[in-house]
Every structure is written in C-alpha cells, then in structure tokens.
C-alpha cells in the first residue's frame, strides 16, 4: 500500500497534471513559458490582422473598406496589442522557459505568482478586445493615447482600456519581480554575475526597467481615469491642467518601454550569432556594460518624442544630445556581433538567418533613429510615415525576428524534435522580403510628406502605399507558416540531441531534449 502511494507521489512530482487543471493551476516554468508563447502568438495574429485592415484601406487613395473612426480604432488596437500582447509576453515566455535552464535553477523563484501573472494577461486582453464591440467603439486615440483626445474626447470604452492597462501592468511587474528574484538568488554555484549568459543579463536589466516604468504607466492612466470620472483636470487646460504633462509622463514610460521590447532580443541574438559562428561572443564584458548604459540613458531621452511640442531650447538640446549618446552603446553591440561573425565558421540554419537579418535590419532602424534624433530634422520627420518605418524596422526585424530566431534555436530543446529546416527557411525568406517590401517604402512616404495615422492620402503617395500593402499581406500570410512549422515540430520529427547545435554553449544544452518536466533539481556546478 505504502509503495503504491509512493509511486503515485513520485509520478505527481515528475510529470504534469492531466487535463485543463495542468494549465490553469500549473506552477511549472516550462508550462507557463509555453502558455506565454502561445498567448503571444495568438495576439500577434490578432494584431497582425488589424494591420492587414489598415494596409487594405491604404492600398488605394479614397475610403474603400472602413470608416475613419474604425480606422483609428484599428491603428490604436494594432499598436496596443502588438506592444503589450505580442512582444512583451513573448519575451516573458522565453524568460520562463530559458532563465532557469540557463542558470541551472529548478524553477522560477516565485512559481505561484508566475501562474497568476500569466493568467492576468488573457483577462486584460479580453477586456481590451471587448471594447471593439462596445457603444462608441474601441479606443481610437493611438497607442500613445494623448490627452485630451483620450480623456475629454475619448469614447466611453476608455475606462475599460484603462482597467486593461492596469491589469497588464500588474502582470508585467510581477513577472519582472520574479525574473529578478530568480536571477539574483537561484544561480548555480559558481555562476558569478559576469559568467551569466547574456540573455540572463539582458533580462535582468529589462526587469529593472519594467519595475521602474510600469508604475509610471499605471500613474498616467489613473490620472486619465480621474480626469474622466472624478472631475480632476490633470490634462485639461480649461481646468488649469496641462496636456503636455501627459506626454512627459507617458514617454517617461514609453521610451524605456521600447528598450524593454528589444533588450531581451539583444541577449538571445548574442547566443545565436556565437553558436552559428562556432566562436565565442566577441566582447562579452562590453556587451554587458553597453546594455547597462542603454538602460540608464533610456531614462534621459523621453522628450525626443516631443520635439514639436514647444519645449524651451535648452530642453530641446539636452534631449537631442542624450539621444545621440545612446547610439554609442547600441553601435558597440552591433560591432561586437559583426566581429563575432568575422573569421568564424558560419552556417545558416533558420535561427542564424533570423539573427543575421536582425543585425542588418535593426541597424537600419537604428540609422533612422539617429536621423530622428537630430532635433531640427525631426521637425520634418515627426508624425510621418518615416517614423512608422523607423519603429517597424526596430520592432519587426528587431523584436519579432529576435523572437523567431530564439524560437527556432530552442524549439529542439522544448519539443525534443528538430523543426523542418526547409519550411523554416521558407518562412524566413518570405518574412524577410515581405517585411522589407512593407516597410522600406514607408521611409519614402514619410520623407515625401505623408503623415501617419491617416485613413486616406494625397495622390502622390499612391504607388509606394500599394507596394507597402502588398509586402504587408505577404508578411502577414507567411506567419501562418510559422504556426504550421511549430505544430509540426511539436507533434513529431527527427529526434533532437541534447545539444543539437554544435557551436552552442550553456547549461540548457546539458539537459536532454525535450527538457524533462523538472530540471536541475540538484544544481549543476559552474566552473
């Protein structure tokens, strides 16, 4: 009898629970990581389909498919869903899966909180997406929700938007606390800070950024809530408030937020480039310092989004100089990656293809960022399609390609199978061509004078918009292929070795593939 009970207990300990409760109640970092990744991909498709609506309307001049009100809801929801629903949860998913494996820990430090921070997200997005069906429609004031357009002039659903942002914020903060607690307390003996893998480093810094700025976001939406329902006038000029204050507070959150969306990708790319160059990462220490410098500087540049609001010239100059300065550590990272590839022994499996495209295209986004930093020139670029091109070059080949590269790199570890390399390469090339067709012409459109967030445009912008829409559809459809590749890989395929990439380094490759439900119950020794 007691023997039976014992085996039962052991089974319980070593395998996942069965049925829905496995997912609802799980505290296992791998399960939670998978859920984050699946959720984020669903949001990526949802936000992507909204982008398709935008691009379909912009295919030709004139209003064809949607009304301007709905167009504005689409741009707003697309931006919000991509930023908060697709990119951020994907990185948290990667962190959940990989941080414990990389530092030799059995799980995240706070497993119950981990479950809670995941399950808050579907709730938040259910609320956000439901606003589309409310009277007056969904938020329509852009993902930057500038007051007073979002307060005095906002639709009734704004209150639900605020509530959803609060829940997302709570989820992100809890996720960040968990990451910090895990990294600082649960590293394997011998893994000093300067021996940590770069993905761990970049996530540690990202988590501090999150804790610093998510409360600021919560603050600004709460001030909006007060203005809308409780008669305050934080942002209402007719009541003595200040609409520009909104922008300062928002961008104090917003600029570090863009680094939150890219730093973890920096970390993952560093591993992938080194692995497929079969050569150690060049300049590990300078990589760490560069990320630290970027994180600190990211708090000092927020008003580069506000060069046209009429700041005093001293402010204007300060924010221009600080922004130019941030290009230096970013450059260091790019130089390090390229030097890592230099005189390596390169091969180009899907993760490496995405990583190389990341470096090239993110750098192009960095170049347009440098141009935007020149304050006088920004007067011409600001709020045009040049900016849309810029941030999509850092977000799509930056954040999204970083996530794809990581997914292909670690899929064998997650599923125990190799993915279909031919299909994955097809996914890459179609994404690469589609993405560039969609976003490169936007630079030209912006320079030629097309403002952003408009449902219709003057005739001289017709041709490039058409090309851009075609590229966008191509990119959009291609992402279904990724879904197919992942499902196929999860269900079967060539068995993956514990270390399927000959150049890869790190503790995650010392456990079998697929990684057992529980790993590193006894910590490994790091020399």
């Amino acid at each position: 009898m007691s023997a039976v009970a014992d085996t039962h207990a052991q089974e319980h300990h070593h395998g996942p629970a069965k049925g829905i409760s496995r997912w609802l109640l799980t505290t296992n970092h791998k399960d939670i990581g998978s859920m984050y990744l699946m959720f984020s991909f669903a949001m990526f498709l949802l936000g992507g389909s909204m982008a398709m609506v935008i691009r379909a309307e912009l295919f030709q001049p004139g209003l064809q498919i949607v009304e301007p009100e709905f167009f504005n809801q689409m741009t707003t929801m697309h931006g919000l869903i991509m930023v908060f629903g697709a990119v951020m949860p994907a990185f948290v998913g990667l962190a959940n899966w990989m941080l414990p494996l990389m530092i030799g820990a059995p799980d995240m430090a706070l497993p119950r909180m981990n479950n809670w921070s995941f399950w808050l997200l579907p709730c938040a997005f259910l609320i956000l997406v439901s606003t589309l069906f409310m009277q007056g429609g969904a938020p329509n004031f852009g993902w930057t929700f500038y007051a007073p357009l979002s307060t005095t002039y906002g639709p009734p659903s704004t209150t639900f938007f605020i509530f959803a942002v609060h829940i997302m914020g709570v989820s992100s903060i809890m996720g960040a606390i968990n990451v910090i607690a895990t990294i600082l307390n649960m590293r394997a003996p011998g893994m000093t800070l300067m021996k940590m893998p770069l993905f761990v480093w970049t996530w540690l810094i990202t988590a501090f950024l999150l804790i610093a700025v998510m409360p600021v976001l919560a603050g600004v939406v709460t001030m909006m809530l007060m203005d809308i329902h409780f008669g305050t006038s934080f942002f209402d000029a007719s009541g003595g408030g200040d609409p520009v204050l909104f922008q300062h507070v928002f961008w104090f959150f917003g600029h570090p937020e863009v680094y939150i969306m890219i730093l973890p990708a920096f970390g993952a790319i560093s591993h992938i480039v080194a692995a497929f160059s079969r050569k150690p990462l060049f300049g590990y220490a300078s990589m760490v310092y560069a990320v630290g410098a970027i994180a600190v500087l990211s708090f000092l540049v927020w008003a580069h989004h506000m060069f046209t609001v009429g700041m005093p010239i001293a402010g204007q100059l300060f924010f221009m100089y600080a922004t130019l300065l941030i290009a230096v550590p970013t450059g260091v990272k790019v130089f390090n990656w390229v030097t890592t590839m230099f005189r390596g022994s390169l091969s180009f499996e899907a993760p490496m293809l995405f990583a190389v495209a990341f470096i090239i295209l993110f750098t192009i986004g960095g170049f347009s960022g440098l141009m935007l930093a020149i304050a006088p020139a920004d007067f011409q670029y600001h709020d045009t399609y040049f900016v849309v091109a810029h941030f999509h070059y850092v977000l799509v080949p930056g954040a999204i390609f970083g996530i794809f590269a990581s997914a292909y790199f670690w899929l064998p570890k997650w599923t125990g199978h190799m993915y279909d390399e031919t299909l994955a390469k097809t996914h890459f090339w179609l994404s690469f061509v589609g993405m560039n067709l969609a976003f490169f012409p936007m630079h030209f459109l912006g320079l030629a004078g097309m403002p952003r967030r408009i449902p219709d445009y003057a005739l001289q912008f017709t041709d490039f918009n058409m090309i851009s829409s075609i590229g966008a559809f191509m990119f959009g459809v291609t992402q279904l292929l990724f879904l197919f590749i992942v499902v196929k890989c999860a269900r079967g395929g060539e068995k993956a070795a514990a270390k399927p990439w000959d150049g890869a380094e790190g503790l995650e490759w010392t456990v079998p593939s697929p990684a057992p439900y529980h790993t590193f119950s006894t910590p490994p020794e790091v020399k």
Binding site: P68, P243, M371, I454
Partner: protein
C-alpha cells in the same frame, strides 16, 4: 537668404525634372523654399550619408564573413573574443562623429527658435477639423476647411490634382517677410505642418507655441495636420499662398472690408429663405462632419439633429449649445467661430431642414443680443 533661395529653386528644378518623368516616386525630403527647410535638408542629407558610410563598413565586414568564413567552405573558426584597442576605437570614433553632427544641428535649432523681429503675426488655432487664421495686426480672421468633395473621397467621382490637400480659404502671407505664427488649439492637440517651409509645430489647448517662416519664392504650399486629432485628422490640410507684398496688401484690405460687411449684415432684416440658404452652407462646412449632411449624426458619438427634441422644441437650449458648446464633449462653442449671421442661419436651418419643419427662425440680432447678455 538670396543664396538659399537660388539654391532652393535650382534644387527644386533639379528634383522636378526626374520627378515629372517618374510621376509619383518621390523618395526624398524636399529641400523646400525657406532657409530653415534648406538647412534641415542639408542636415538630413549629411546624417543620411554618414549612416550610409557606417553601413557600408559594417555590412561590408559582415558580408565578407558571410561569403568567406563559411563552415561549408571548410573555414576553421578563430578563437579571439576581446581586443581593447578596437573596442575603445569603436566607442570613441562614433562619439566624435556624433559631436560633429550635433554642432550644425544646434546652430540650426537656435535659428529656428528665433521668433523675434517679425513683420507679420498670425494666430493659428486648431479645431476638430479645420484651422482658424487670425491676422492679429489687421483684426480679421477666417476658417480654412478642406474643400475636397465627399464624392471624391468616396470614389464616386474622379480625384482632383490636389486631392485632400485643398482648402476653401488658404492662409495668405507676403513673400520675403518674417511671418511669426502663434499656435494654439480649441479642443484636442493638432499639429501644423508645411513641409516646404520646414515648419511643424503642435497646436495645444491652453498653450501658445511660436514659430516663424520667411518664404522667398511665391507659390502655393501644401501640408497637413500631423497630430492625431480624431476621426477627420486625415482631412485637415494646410494650404499657404505666398504672394508678393503689393498683392498681399491688397488682399488684406479686401479681407478687412469683407469683415466690415459681415458686421453690417447682422443689422439687416433676414427672411427665413435667406437664412435657410445661408444656413445650409454654414452647416455643411461647420457641422456636417459630425452631425452628417442629412442631420442623422453618428450616434452615440454625435447625436442626430433630425427629429431631435432640442431642434424641435427647445429654442433657448439650441442657441445655448451652439453658442457655448457642451463642455466635456466634442460639441464645441461656435460663438466665436461663426459670425452672428452664420450662427442664426445654422440654427434656423437645423430647425427647418430634414423635416424638422418648425417654421421658426432666429435672427442675427437675437444672437447678437444673446451673446451680449452673457
């Protein structure tokens, strides 16, 4: 100044040649027609070429590795992972480039911020979704609405040459004079942009922003609102006509006289038919974007006026909401936007159009008295 102007013309001509051949494939920023836009253009080109140069070096090394250092070619990996000299170099060199770049940017910025010693001052107010231009020194003002017909937007009619970039009343400025703009907004934030001038500034409720321009080449210049300001954000163009000084003076005199005539119209005795006729026009430009041409509105955001209780029964409430607006909603105070005649006409129109046949009329004098009592 002259030099800039000549350079601008030469550049514009140079750009125009290929442009006319290539139709709509404009790929670069226009150098524009002011010294500011010229300077911005040269900053833009400088930083662009710097980026291209850095890109060539970085991507050159990368593609070299991609082609030469492949595993499939049997290339054996080196094992270096540090080099203090290069690492210091590629921190210092970019820093030096950026400092070099920041210097001309700073001087340009200082010039852009110098709004002193202007010859003409114009106050620009953003409304959902049109611009008001107020000639402060000459005491007249007018609204500038997009004039592209709905049928073109709805693809029922061929689109004109200046589709979406045409207005009923353009801003008129004299050539060769320093014009100072004072920008503010009545409802939400808008942003006033004319690419050819290199001028973009936000118009923010409760703030007055300043900027300036001096245009040397006569012509018509077009731009748009660039800050998301609600549903018709894409439909609030900016059109500026730069004319020689004599022509400008004549135009100003005409405008002053027209303003005077308008004031006199208030005194006149109006008939219902006259008011209806005028009201229909005023309604189309000022109200139809929200309440729709047929008065059915876009509920719940913008209520219907057709059959509305206020339009049918509550005359005092009707006057009050049109003159003073409804605070905290998109319904603005039109008291200072429209003349007494137009206010009276539009209210009369709303009370008699679309089957709201009340037969009641409001005269300009009544509006005048109502405003004065406040």
């Amino acid at each position: 100044m002259r030099v800039h102007a000549k350079r601008a013309v030469a550049l514009a001509a140079g750009l125009l040649l290929p442009v006319t051949v290539m139709a709509n494939w404009t790929m670069n920023m226009s150098p524009g027609v002011t010294s500011t836009s010229n300077q911005i253009y040269s900053l833009h080109m400088t930083i662009l070429w710097i980026c291209v140069a850095i890109g060539v070096v970085v991507f050159g090394v990368m593609f070299w590795s991609i082609f030469a250092h492949r595993k499939s070619r049997g290339f054996k990996p080196a094992n270096f992972h540090e080099n203090t000299v290069v690492e210091v170099l590629w921190t210092i060199v970019p820093l030096a480039i950026l400092v070099a770049m920041a210097i001309p940017a700073t001087t340009t910025l200082i010039e852009m911020y110098d709004t002193t010693e202007s010859d003409v001052d114009i106050k620009i107010t953003g409304y959902q979704w049109r611009w008001q231009y107020e000639y402060i020194d000459d005491d007249f003002s007018f609204f500038s609405n997009m004039s592209t017909p709905k049928d073109q937007i709805r693809n029922r009619q061929a689109k004109g040459e200046n589709y979406l970039l045409e207005v009923d009343n353009p801003l008129v400025i004299p050539v060769g004079k320093k014009v100072r703009f004072l920008l503010t907004a009545n409802d939400v934030i808008h942003s006033w942009w004319v690419p050819e001038f290199g001028v973009k500034k936000d118009a923010i409720p409760g703030f007055i922003n300043e900027t300036w321009t001096r245009v040397d080449v006569p012509g018509t210049y077009r731009g748009q609102c660039t800050e998301l300001c609600g549903k018709d954000h894409g439909f609030m163009p900016v059109v500026v006509k730069a004319v020689p000084e004599e022509e400008y003076n004549v135009w100003v005199a005409e405008q002053k006289e027209a303003a005077e005539t308008e004031r006199r119209l208030t005194e006149k005795d109006w008939t219902l038919e006259e008011l209806m006729e005028r009201g229909e026009q005023a309604y189309a430009t000022a109200c139809a974007s929200c309440h729709q041409a047929d008065g059915t509105g876009l509920p719940p955001a913008f209520p219907a006026l057709k059959g509305s209780q206020m339009a049918l029964e509550d005359m005092a409430g009707h006057i009050e909401i049109v003159v003073n607006g409804s605070p905290g909603t998109a319904m603005q105070a039109f008291g200072n936007q429209l003349s007494e005649v137009d206010l009276a006409a539009v209210i009369t129109y709303e009370r008699n159009a679309w089957g709201n046949n009340t037969g009641e009329m409001v005269t300009p004098k009544e509006i005048f008295d109502y405003k004065n009592q406040q």
